[in-house]
């Protein structure tokens, strides 16, 4: 399942977790405020690592907006390419 990670895919993943439609995801929201828990983060992490993003749980968990998550994922993805 290591599909290439795109912003749309990222939004879709978040939307699935948050019971939202992808276009309803506000990237300025924080994981904490949306009721994200560590198991959800771990599940997403597993998926994104499989898609080639070299990130850790701590790195995701310490960031306070989804935009920061995407920034991190984009950076790490680029490093690998």
């Amino acid at each position: 399942m290591p599909e290439h990670l795109t912003l749309d895919g990222f939004r879709a993943d978040l939307a699935e977790c948050l019971f939202l439609e992808p276009d309803e995801v506000d990237l300025e929201d924080g994981p904490f405020d949306t009721g994200m828990d560590s198991l959800r983060i771990a599940t997403l992490l597993e998926r994104w690592r499989a898609a080639g993003a070299d990130v850790t749980f701590v790195e995701l968990a310490e960031r306070t907006t989804f935009a920061q998550w995407w920034q991190l994922l984009s950076d790490r993805r680029e490093q690998r390419i």
Binding site: G35, D37, I41, A42, A61
Partner: protein
Amino acid sequence: MTEGQPLLAAQEGIWAGQQLDMDSPAYNTAEYLRISGPVDPAVFDRALHHVVAETEALNVTFGTDDTGRPRQTLAPARTWHTHMADLTAERDPHAAALAWMDRDMGHPADLTRGPVFGHALLRTGPEEYLWYHRVHHIALDGFGLSLVARRVAQVYTALMAGEPVPDSGFGTLESVLTEESAYRESTRYAEDRVHWTGRYGDRPPVATPAGRSALPARTFHRHVTDLDRATSDRLRTVARGLKVTWSEVLLAVTVAHLHRLTGAREIVLSLPVMGRLGSASLRVPAMVRNVLPLRVPVTSADSLRALAPQVSRELRAGLPHQRYRYEQLRRDLRLVGGERRLSGPGVNIMPFEYGLKFAGHPSTVHNVSAGPVDDLAVNVYDRGDGTGLRVAVDTNPDLYTRAETAAFQEGLLALLTQALTDPDRPLGRARAHRDILVLDGGPLPAPARPVLSVIAGHAARRGGAPAVEHDGRVLTYAQLFGAAKDVARALAVRGVGRGDVVAVALPRGADAVTAVLGVLMSGAAYCPLDLGAPAERGARLLDGAAASLVLTTGDLAARFTEHPVLALPSPGTGDARPGAAPVSPGPADLAYVLHTSGSTGHPKGVAVGHSALAHFVTAAAHRYGLRREDRVLQFAPPHFDASVEEIFLTLCSGATLVVRTDDMTDSVPSFLDTCARLRVSVLDLPTAYWHEVAYAVSTGAAALPECVRTVVIGGEAALPERVERWRKAVGTSVALLNTYGPTEATVVATVADLHDPGLATGDVPIGLPLPGTRAAVLDGELYLLGPALADGYRPDVPDGARFAPLTALPDAPRAYRTGDLVRVGEDGRLRHLGRADSEFKISGLRVQPAEIENALLDHPRVKEAAVVGEILPDGTRRLVAHLVASAPAPPATEVRDHLRARLPAAMIPSAVEFTDRLPRTRSGKIDRAALAGPPERRAPSAGSPLERTITGVWGQLLGTDDVAPDDDVFDLGAQSLQAIQAANRLGIALGRDLKVAWVFQHPTAAALARFLTGTDAGTGEEAPPSAVLPPTALLADTTLDSGIRPGTGRVRRAPRRVLLTGATGFVGTHLLARLLTATDAEIVCTVRAADAAEAADRVHEALTAHGIALDEGAAARLTVLPADLARPGLGLSHETLSELAATTDAVFHNAATVSIMRDYATLRAANTDSTRQLLRLAAVNTTPLHYVSTLSVAPPTSLAPEVPEEFLPLHGGLLHGYQQSKWASERLLEQAAERGLPVSVHRLGRVVGPAATGRVNERDFLWGVLRAGIPAGIVPDLFEDEVWTPVDFVAASLVHLCLGQGDPMATGPVFNHATLPRVRLADVYDWVRAYGYPVRTVPLARWRESLPRSADAAATTLAFFDSTARDSSTAGATADLGLGRVRSDRVRAGLDGSGITCPPIDRSLFFRHLDHSVRAGLLPVPTPRPEVSAK
């Protein structure tokens, strides 16, 4: 080094928890990593030390500041070592490793000194290592552990590769503290608080399978099961389908399972959360974890598909507020202390596999302990090897057994499997499994005929036969029928007839019978009114029943001004007015409306039809065997349904109804005499009154008249004890019919023959249904069916649903649900178990008060008993027994001991109250509602001195003067920290050890005072706090540390080294001498002294003082060690202790501070803790430990007729600190024995001087009495007789039993040294007189008053008597010393053939003692000189 910084909020919670039980190891958390591959232990050790050094949280110690607030100090951890062991030689290396871990987990961490952690590297295979990591929860949470583990892997890998160790990246504790205080100042904090206090402001009830709460225990039960891979995969798939996480599925199934177990409509879970998202603490190993409450409404119809999204929503609503501390929320909601709780069972999901590699070698992580378990916790771990999940259910052993733990888990996993297979299936209990049992009374013996036509038949055929007799007046059937017809006509004239209800307000008597029949003849139904009830109630019933008219007497007519009244006798309406003839009722018409007090307390009118009445009368008359010759007593007033039975059964049988007069029940004897005079043959009595009759008959106070052939009882459960009394006194020739039936099923539904000789003792069935009636038992509850059921309620009431089709039976017949719990015995007969609504759940048990009441009534002095369950404001559940006892009332402790022998612990009432009479309802039943009322609040100034001390301390802490003895301090806002402060201050104020846990468990001053004085039973007795230690506290104080277990096995051999304590005492010197002569061993004596020289001097002085000389060989084998048994480690160095543990072949623990004055708290270190320490020492090498105890630990004869050679349970006779400290030691030894340690206990009586020399024990209490009394010419009457043993004999016996050929352990560890005949005090005083001292025996109080206070020798003795007199002014010392029969079979058997004997303790031996005392100047020279002294 940073000085004393505050704790993180989460740490404070842990710190407070640890204060509840300072020695508890429960806060140790641990995990181990299994490393597959070679490990270099030295490098690993370096890595561990490197990581520990850089992890701040592991380099802390804890203390308190001036205000008692905890502080932590950052300082490098004390020197520590990694435990390295190669276990590959073990048969099961892995099991050996786990066993080692288990032992290690049993050691409590010392927070004040550190280190708070421990490491081990255990080799379990050629290329397999377990790295074990234990940390006190105050330092790290689960995430913190993972950070440390990750770092250790990183450092080890770098070291192995020879690369520089990368930076840890750890943040500082300071940064977490700063973040935390910033949070507390933020608007976010305020918002979070609003969220939680809003969501939980209603303080939802917390349902758990145990049904109660307890403080966390020191250990927990764990039941582990692995979910196979298919189930684990299915879990994830189903979760995805439901758009939830798999953890939410597990939460939902746990909620459903708890609902199934508790029936609660809402489950409140406890969810540990990491609490680190978006926080600096993500990079700081620390204790940050929080707990979220999670409340989920649930019904048994909920499916997983319905429940899981609900759980998910609730969880996601709470998660954004997860930083708000759980402890703070409890404070906000005032849910601290007592049994208050915010949330119940925990669900802890740890989905993270570390996936760590150690120099390239993979590892898996395994949890050992997640910390203390409050109630029950479901922990879910990833197994880490790709095979699925592991589910570990942890429970608090104080609340659940191992079996219950396993059953919980099995049920949970079965439900999980079911839910995963079919997510749409309801998760509640499936109805298909309900068992239903039906008992059928069989067909009626004859068709049911309407009662009026049967009575008319008797009037027509036997008109002259007596129908009713009352107070000398007789109505024949013809007269009765005629008078009734008159009434019917009079009613018809008033337009009253079929479909109407006529109230009958008449006292018991012929007129009432006439009126009842008259109303029925008019076609109307009658509704009897209770003339004793308040007018307002009467009026309400009249309105409710829609009565058309009130039938009453002229005197009473004025009461019913609001209603049409017909006064009897009817004012001569004559028989005119044709056209107004009464119309007979049909079978479908109502016969009567009778009011019962419903469970709600509001009376309900039960409407019974003619058909039901006819069925009942036909069935019951047949079943009771009534004959026309019978004379049946009408006992019940008309408004009781028993009167229906009495009137209609009698009249339909053509028998005579004998109406009782009001004065007939003045006393049972006069009642029975009157029955005899009236030639009553059938007595129909309320069970409550019959209980009195049975008691009186059984004691001979009254006799059952010979004319009585049948007694029918009913109305409440018959007490087995009274049934037994009755059967013994009356035999089985008189029929005793126990009837059961609600008014709704027309008087009686089931009947049992209690005179059946085949009934077992204590068995009181309610029998079988009457003919025509069926009984169904569903879920233990009784349902009644058949034509005798009432029509319903008039007016209809909301719980009319009790009449409903029973769908569990074919065709769903109409049934009445009784609310009574029953059981069907093997004989097919019903047994009544109690009311479904009076069942009280306590300590996880369903308790029927009746069962406890029956056990109470077994006590010979208990006359009446009522047990009620109470739920105190703090949520604590307790049982209270209200008793009426014959004087003198037995002490509450005796009552509870009596119960303990008969019932499980949870069923022993925590309070026993004596009263002159029990409150009763108007119908004569015990008024439980009145008993269950809460105690009145007393004023703050009220209370005993002890209560005021407690309220005073709380007042200071809470800053208020308004703390009353019955106030729950946690309701007043007390917090955990304040409870800890209160315990400390109270400990100082009262001069005793006071555990923090006690303050939590007894949140009112009154309760704490009761607990501290051991008068928990509410006897009102108040002992001075210093004199009496609470027995329960004693129990709590005598838990043997779990680490004390048999160590390496040992070879039994002739002892080469024996350790003896207390060698300088009276018994000790003789024991020492005997050990030296009877063995070749070195005897090591511990002596309290500053140095070795002083210690040696003390031993030699003691030997000399007791006239014991050692030969050179013996003296050479004596080693004296300066020690102090009251100090930790016995005041010996580590090396000395280890050496003693390794080389000692036997320990004789004889040392004790003997003081009848001092309280337990001050004797505990020397007398009890010393035993604990010596056990620890002896356990190392499984060395036998022999303990010298005292017979004064035994209960007095008033509590136990016999003193067994067994360990003794806690009892009320342990009044003095010395007794308590010795009992406490025995309790420790008992636990040691249970664990397989070789111990023995030797109880001695009064040890007197050696038979051989005549010396005396000058410090003995009795010699003190003689020395004070002989010069004054008076001696006190102290006790009847006592066990005396000469010291040389007891020393020889003891050494022989402990070291002789036989194995003392094989015959049981307890020995009572009481083989000699007891010595009578009267004989002793006679010997004193014969010796030449003219003494008078006087009562103790007189002796004390007459004796000059200055009598120096008796100073202690007098003080002792003063102290005992305060405890109990009448019993004096007698109660302390009087023992029942002392068994000493084991001692006798052990000495058999040993040649060790003792001369009798007689006058000649006693004279030798007196001779010695005179020689030593202890006693004056007697005048005249004794004539026999030289013999």
